[in-house]
């Protein structure tokens, strides 16, 4: 059964490689963030597999949980950052403030 987990982990890792291509090529920054989010979610699964292979799953499952939390917070922070620095919205915000004044 450990052999099966090794092969499944290798398959997941091999499928991460084309997504790295999307990070390198991706036309906009948001595309890159999406690809990083996918890879982070898959790393959670990979950590659980590593725990199953080394028979220490009770330790690696905590790592996987922490990684999932950090990945979620990281992608939310990136999304909020790109929401805020976008120039069109700032212009419309300043226009709204001027109209109020």
């Amino acid at each position: 059964m450990e052999t099966f987990f090794v092969y499944a982990g290798v398959a997941i890792f091999a499928l991460m490689c084309p997504i790295v291509w999307r990070i390198a090529v991706g036309p906009t920054a948001i595309d890159r963030i999406v690809a990083v989010n996918v890879i982070g979610t898959k790393t959670t699964v990979l950590l659980v597999f590593i725990g199953m292979i080394y028979q220490r799953v009770e330790m690696f499952v905590d790592f996987a949980l922490t990684y999932a939390l950090l990945n979620f917070i990281g992608s939310l922070a990136a999304a909020r950052y790109f929401d805020r620095v976008n120039p069109r919205k700032q212009i419309s915000d300043t226009e709204a403030k001027e109209q109020k004044l």
Partner: protein, 113 residues
Amino acid sequence: MILNVICIVLVCSGILFFVGGAVGVIRFPDFYTRMHAAGKGDTMSVFLILIGVAIYQLGDFNLANLLVAGKIFFITVFIMWASPTSTHALIKAGFEEGQKVWTRKDEKGDSEK
């Protein structure tokens, strides 16, 4: 033995969903369709793979294995809650940034990129 078979079937179908997600992220033409493939395929594949591993973990039943299976199940529930949320936040950020929606007219221009 039957738990092993269930685990193998669930993990293989999860990897199949991940193949779909990866192909979608590579091949789709614009940001929204890529996000669609990434959000759905990713969530479903993580759900299937981790449920399979949790079922395998319950094979020899004792308290420590039950705790580990509960933690894996909690990761599954958390990812099923967090992945659509981050997908929504990223789509909103991209929409506010002014990402263009792909139409059939752009096909010739996009094929060179």
